[in-house]
């Protein structure tokens, strides 16, 4: 029981329909106002420690075991870092395009899983609908066509991963300085046959998310929303780039904090703070300090930070998205869903383009150059900017690893969202169903991968406990 001030404490444990395990605690003051809201990450992983001593070429395969939902992100971020260890960062066209294809498939499947399987029940049925129907099965019954499109979108992304990485989950495609296979003509033709349909499903998903946001705009403007800084990679020319680029950070108004920062210099710009009540660290922009330097990452941040998207349909949707806020950054938490679906459309367009690029059938797969001791690789994972940083000794063993995973970047924003919603929906001492649901919906908008490993899909019991300042249990409520 963590200590914190006076008053009463409400705990939501665990939070459901997110990736991993976490719990929420709310501390009330004497007037029953929410004094403090915290999302606790209750798992300890230790990857940075136990990777020490392993051989550098094992790293892309080893670290991806952090997660079963988006292992490709860790696989590729680690591979990009290790590319620098072997001096192979200037990939052959075949290697870079195969990795990009893998990544676009990955972002598509992860976003589809989150939107359709985890979040769409809240959006389609309402936050306070009966939990018995507010789930993917309920969506499949009432909106069978939409549910099927979501499942097929995810499947297509998964098949792309299998064709590029060898397996749908935890493959081995990316090797230091390249890739271990190309895309055969047979594989390419299977994907080509379905890509137009996939594009139409993605375009439809954008409309669902957009219409939802616009139809509920007034409510969503205040639902767990707040001004924040935004951070992501961008391409040199300012375009959205999920696989590679330089770091850009903007404030809530869109003013530049820093721009086109080389990924290798990230430690000059980003620092991490440790707090005693969560296993998840708190990153911040150094120049602004820990109090003001926190930022959001992920789809919302990426659409806000980029100047344009280099695929036509997604760019058209981005413009519509930005029109809502007059070209300024969109700070509505629930707009993450809309931004996420624009990215799915972008990925579908990118995949279509790559499927007509003969470089994918090339045989020049690996490149090597000057050996280095340090390798840093950044990637825009589905949930946001992912940092992998390794140091390797003269015997090829890892001596140091630093990972800032996407969800970690969103740590403070998620806490802010919880606090905002809790303040609005808590009345008196009563732990209402609506309060619980709304808190979960706000957290879910960030698509957090709390452990980057485990998977809770709405069947875990939700326990709420009310404590006084001395830690004595006053009330307890459980739902399944």
């Amino acid at each position: 029981m963590p200590s914190a001030g006076h008053g009463k404490r409400i705990v939501i444990d665990p939070v459901t329909r997110v990736e991993g395990h976490g719990k929420v605690s709310l501390l009330l003051d004497d007037e029953n106002n929410v004094q403090q809201a915290r999302l606790h990450i209750v798992e300890f992983r230790g990857f940075e420690r136990f990777i020490q001593g392993r051989l550098y070429w094992e790293v892309p395969v080893l670290t991806q075991r952090l997660c079963g939902i988006c292992p490709v992100s860790h696989h590729l971020a680690a591979a990009k870092a290790i590319d620098r260890i072997v001096g192979g960062e200037d990939l052959t066209p075949t290697a870079e395009k195969m990795r990009r294809l893998m990544h676009y498939g990955q972002v598509m499947q992860s976003h589809a899983l989150h939107f359709f399987h985890l979040s769409s029940p809240d959006l389609l049925f309402g936050f306070d609908a009966d939990p018995a129907t507010r789930n993917i099965v309920g969506v499949a019954k009432k909106f069978p066509e939409l549910a099927l499109q979501g499942i097929k979108l995810r499947k297509y992304g998964q098949e792309i991963i299998k064709a590029t990485a060898g397996k749908k989950i935890h493959g081995t495609g990316a090797v230091p300085g390249g890739i271990n296979k190309n895309l055969s003509i047979e594989e390419r033709d299977i994907f080509r046959a379905e890509i137009d349909e996939v594009l139409s499903w993605a375009a439809n998903a954008v409309q669902v998310a957009k219409n939802y946001t616009l139809d509920n705009l007034e409510m969503l403007k205040s639902f767990g929303s707040f001004d924040s800084n935004h951070l992501s990679l961008i391409r040199e020319d300012g375009a959205l780039d999920l696989y590679d680029g330089k770091l850009r950070a903007i404030d809530a108004e869109g003013n530049s904090i820093f721009d086109r920062v080389d990924c290798r210099d990230y430690l000059d710009y980003i620092a991490e703070e440790v707090r005693d009540w969560s296993y998840m660290k708190f990153p911040f922009i150094k120049s602004l300090g820990p109090a003001d330097g926190w930022y959001r990452v992920g789809p919302l941040a990426r659409i806000n930070t980029c100047d344009f998207i280099d695929t036509a349909e997604a760019e058209r949707e981005r413009r519509t998205f930005m029109e809502l806020t007059g070209g300024k950054p969109n700070n509505i938490t629930m707009a993450y869903h809309w931004a996420r679906m624009i990215e799915v459309l972008h990925c579908a367009e990118k995949i279509r383009h790559l499927l007509h690029d003969s470089d994918l059938q090339g045989d020049d797969l690996v490149t090597r150059g000057e050996r280095r001791r340090v390798g840093i690789g950044l990637l825009e994972a589905p949930r946001g900017t992912l940092f992998h940083h390794y140091e390797v000794d003269e015997h090829d063993q890892v001596v140091k690893a630093n990972l800032i995973v996407s969800t970690t970047n969103n740590n403070i924003p998620m806490n802010r969202a919880v606090q905002g919603v809790a303040k609005d929906y808590l009345s008196g001492h009563e732990i209402t169903e609506a309060l619980l649901n709304n808190i979960e919906v706000a957290i879910r908008a960030y698509d957090p991968c709390l452990s980057c490993a485990t998977h809770a899909l709405g069947k875990m019991p939700l326990t709420v406990e009310l404590y006084d300042a001395e830690g004595e249990l006053l009330a307890r409520r459980e739902k399944s």
Binding site: W57, V61, R65, V86, K167, V175, P176, H395
Partner: protein
């Protein structure tokens, strides 16, 4: 002495040549007898006991036991399969075998035997021994966490490479593979192309820098279980 020796394996008549071991004759006849410490072209060490068969009612190692006329060999009995599974089970928990990121996964004979025997989870508690890596050599390394003490590298280095780099030291649970230099592998003339490296059935003696170069789907045991190549001879012959 006749040119052909005739005996039976699990009641099926098999013919072999004088001087052949049961394993050699069975391989030629398309009958798979599981084995682990016996490397292709290497002298038998008879240490792992995975190839144990019953010969006229007595347990013998197929890799070393010579065939003779009228011999009755039992191979795929329930008792022997249980015995072999137990050995594989014990080898897994005795070391630190993390298949999920091991670069030998998909071509590892220990893993392949486990799959063939239907072992999906450990039967005994893990021992989590503390084992050391030798990464001192620029091109080859020893990962002792995965060493199953088969001794193939010992034989291959001595008999095929003519280098005699490897030998066991210690006894019982302290037994481990060692090299003939106080500076570790870097003090030897080991090379990535050595037969000793090729002979390692697991991910213990490996060339550096090239892990995972074979994509999933094209690794040795991705398409068919270990032993399938041997059994294929018989199927082709019988037009099965």
């Amino acid at each position: 002495m006749s040119e052909t020796i005739t005996f039976t394996i699990d009641g099926v008549e098999v013919q072999g040549a004088p001087g052949q071991t049961i394993l050699e004759a069975a391989d030629a006849a398309g009958v798979y007898i599981p084995r682990l410490c016996k490397g292709e072209g290497l002298a038998p060490r008879t240490s792992c006991r995975v190839c144990t068969v019953m010969v006229n009612g007595r347990p013998q190692t197929a890799c070393s036991y010579p065939i003779s006329d009228g011999m009755v060999v039992e191979n795929e009995t329930e008792e022997l399969m249980t015995f072999r599974k137990n050995i594989i089970d014990m080898l897994f928990i005795e070391g630190n075998h993390y298949c999920m990121f091991c670069e030998a996964s998909g071509r590892c004979e220990l893993q392949a035997l486990a799959y063939r025997f239907g072992i999906n989870a450990p039967k005994y508690p893990f021992m989590y021994p503390k084992r050391e890596l030798d990464t001192s050599h620029p091109d080859v390394y020893i990962e002792r966490n995965r060493c199953i003490l088969c001794g193939r590298c010992v034989n291959a280095s001595r008999d095929e490479d003519g280098k005699g780099i490897f030998e066991f030291i210690g006894r019982g649970s302290e037994k481990k593979i060692a090299v003939d230099s106080s500076r570790g592998l870097s003090g030897t003339d080991a090379a990535a192309a050595d037969k000793a490296v090729e002979a390692c059935p697991v991910g213990s003696l490996l060339p550096k820098h090239r892990g995972y170069d074979i994509p999933v789907g094209r690794r040795a045991y991705d398409a068919a279980p270990i032993g399938s190549d041997i059994e294929r001879h018989r199927k082709e012959r019988n037009n099965e």
